[in-house]
Amino acid sequence: MADRVRVSAMMPPGHVRAPVYLRGKTGVIERALGAFPNPEQLAYNQRADKRDLYRVRFTMAEVWGADAEHPTDTIDAEIFAHWLEPVAEDTDDAP
């Protein structure tokens, strides 16, 4: 997994634990947490595949843009690998 990642902006129905306010936002991997049962299957009593889980750190500036209360404060959230897209280090996608 790349150091810089973007949370997928998809909006599938059902039980999803990637918060909407972070979808489409770019952050950095704070640490890898290991593999955990996929909540999108677990919630429906299906056999849940184990998926890699990461803690991703976002700046307030990235999440809230010009409305950020304090741009360099951060939000860490746990995001499953299938919700993360690698972002090239040399392109500056952050607003």
Partner: protein, 216 residues
Amino acid sequence: MPHDHPSHGHEGLSTSGHPYRADNDEPLSYWQTMEIAIRELLIEKGVTTAEEVARQIDVMDARSPANGAALVARAWTDPEFHARVLADAGAASREMGFDIGPLHLVAVENTAQVHNAIVCTLCSCYPRNLLGLPPDWYKSRAYRSRMVKEPRAVLREFGVELPEDITVRVHDSTADMRYIVLPRRPERTEGLDEAALAKLVTRDSMIGTGLPRAPA
């Protein structure tokens, strides 16, 4: 004319002038009915007993922030334990004898440069096994939505004013981890032992919405 009857002239108010709390006469919700049905079936089929259910509720009620406070106080006084808490707070809790089940616990440490706070925007994830049941406000929409948008304003309402040059890190418990804040040890506590230090560690200081008490 003296008259003690509370409804006289104060319809629906108690003698102290407050409205009576309504009896809970409303019908059971779908999920309340489901819980009773499943519980009674499990008891009837001999899978569990009413006593076992009551005992488990006791176990849940017995968990309190004192457990987390003991962990924090030991981390303040024992540098090796401190390192183990930061490496794996779950294992460090078990080492102290706390039954935290399969919980994955991450300790986030406050420093001179960083202040941490925890929230669960999606529901009410909370390190229950170590801190007990969460306060009602932790589950409110106001806390859950504002904590990720304007944490400094929320902390100010809790009486915590942070300087501009401290970074606030908010931890949204979105999946399998639970978080506990390792607050900074208050100044002028050099002479205090572990038990005395634990008394300074408040529940809110381990959520990040408060700071430890100052020594008396």
